[in-house]
Amino acid sequence: MTGAPITETRIVTKRLHERPDDSWTIEGALESGAYDALRRVLTRGDPAAVQEQVKLSGLRGRGGAGFPAAQKWSFLPADVYPRYLVVNGDEGEPSTFKDRMLVERDPHQIIEGIAIASYAIGCNKAFIYLRGEFALGYERLSQALADAKSRGFLGENILGSGFALDIVLHRGAGAYICGEETALLESLEGSRGMPRIRPPFPAIAGLYAKPTVINNVETLSTLPHIMAMGGDEYAKLGVNRSTGTRIFSVSGHVNRPGNYEVELGATFRQLIDDLCGGVRGGRKVKFFIPGGASSQWLTGSDEHLDAPLDMDYVQQTFGVMLGSGAVMVFDDTTDPLLVGWRLTKFFAHESCGKCTPCREGSAWIEKICYRISHGYGRPDDFDLLLDVADTVCPGLNAPFSQTTICPLGPSPVSTVASLNKFFRDEVLAACGAVPSTGAGQ
């Protein structure tokens, strides 16, 4: 499939590209329209109208799950206060680096989004849970919060509207699991970051057992633009139920790795070739991981490369997800077993240990993948690997059936299922070429 090369559609990344030297400062942000949307929202004085615009926009969460943002807000019970907005800035999904960019280079856009969302849902105290390793991001966001407050965009009686909002910036301390929303709440309450069983859902009993909405950094960064454009206009961008733009973090063997804001509906090939300059050395794509380490993989086939960036299409057609927007591209020299092992090592390390299938399963999957990828494969290792994976996710059919509280459990199984689907011969060869009996199929 060929056509005119695509270009970026810069909405959320507009300011940081236009003002590379000062996009994160209050002066730079104000000169490029920061807080205009908030001012209009507060002047109009109708929280329900904000919710309506977000609903019309079709905005879906940009953290990974893709849940409709307006619907998430609508689960809050009426007349129960206080209620909290918690911002998920604990970006840790391997190869995702979009939220770090937004935090470091456009913190005022996030703050404006938080203020608009808080006004819409009737929240007066919001928390930003920022990944602990983001030291520069923490500094910039701290400064931005202080500047926003001194200019009257936060605090009591914001812009004379009577609306009050306090934002607490909270640093994590190195735990991938805290990107899972209930583990994040546990961590924010000062505990080990272990996911909670739902129900109750956070909307009913979240932070401090109060009604809580948790939104991703990119999701909130989009809100000022939805309010400025109007939900209808925003929904004209994109494809089907994947409206608007998303920032894709592309890395691996491409000529120009980086964050690219793309209108949804473009194809993986356009993202990789048109925006990233193709694969290094003119090589071919062997396989790529389309939505972060938790997603199943796709290959360099035309069918996969020409698939549209449409959350539902890729899920229904290939059983993969756009997830966090991280696209990892691997050329034809790459050893898929080595990449697979490294991903399972990640999940084994980050398992919080609460659920047995994940705690034990991820560790065993990693051990077996290590053997297979490092020349120690045993004849029955593939069967054993599939058997363990099948215990964590019975059936191994997408979407996985889940035996754990949170989605970390099935994540290393995505790797195993992908190896089984696309690189069976390589795995068998590494195990000594004894045919699998197909356990777990």
């Binding site: 391997p94 770090r100 390793e133 380490a293 991903l343 919080c352």
Partner: protein
């Protein structure tokens, strides 16, 4: 009773606790503050944090021991965190790690650790030195950067990524 925290940090600690509807939420930020002050999380710090937030030292220990950024073992003044997750794996991250590990095996002031994805995959292979990012590394350039911090030509953050208070 004298506080574990310096006077300035004690004031900051109390201000941090007051931000939260429930004081226990302040455990993580206070542990970061302790590391900013002393380059690690000592048992004395744990006890002081427990007092400040109104829980037992065991509860503070239970929480903080979950998180990799809190260093309860002796840690060098410089914490070099090298990523080897997949985008760095295919771009030479493990070679950078191996080189730095060998080079600083006997250096008390430098601790080299392997870390999971630090969200700098477009600059792979990447590392952080006290949470300052460095990208597109080779074993030689990585060592050169660490040496600049060692000699003071680059000013390092604390091992919790903060700035040393003046």
């Amino acid at each position: 009773m004298t506080s574990y925290f310096s006077d300035a940090n004690l004031a900051r600690a109390q201000e941090i606790v007051a931000r939260y509807p429930q004081p226990k939420s302040a455990i993580l930020p206070l542990a970061h503050l302790a590391q900013d002050q002393d380059g690690g999380l000592s048992p004395e710090a744990v006890e002081e944090i427990a007092l400040l937030v109104g829980v037992t030292p065991a509860q503070v220990q239970a929480t903080t021991s979950f998180y990799t950024m809190f260093k309860r073992e002796p840690c060098g003044r410089l914490l070099v965190s090298v990523c080897t997750n997949v985008s760095c794996l295919v771009n030479g991250g493990p070679e950078v790690l191996e080189h730095l590990r060998r080079r600083y095996a006997d250096a008390d002031d430098v601790t080299v650790e392997e870390v999971e994805c630090i969200a700098a995959c477009d600059g792979a292979p990447s590392m952080q030195v006290n949470y300052e990012y460095h990208e597109r590394l080779t074993p030689a350039t990585a060592e050169g950067l660490v040496e600049e911090y060692r000699s003071g030509r680059r000013v390092a953050r604390t091992i919790s990524g903060g700035r040393v208070a003046g």
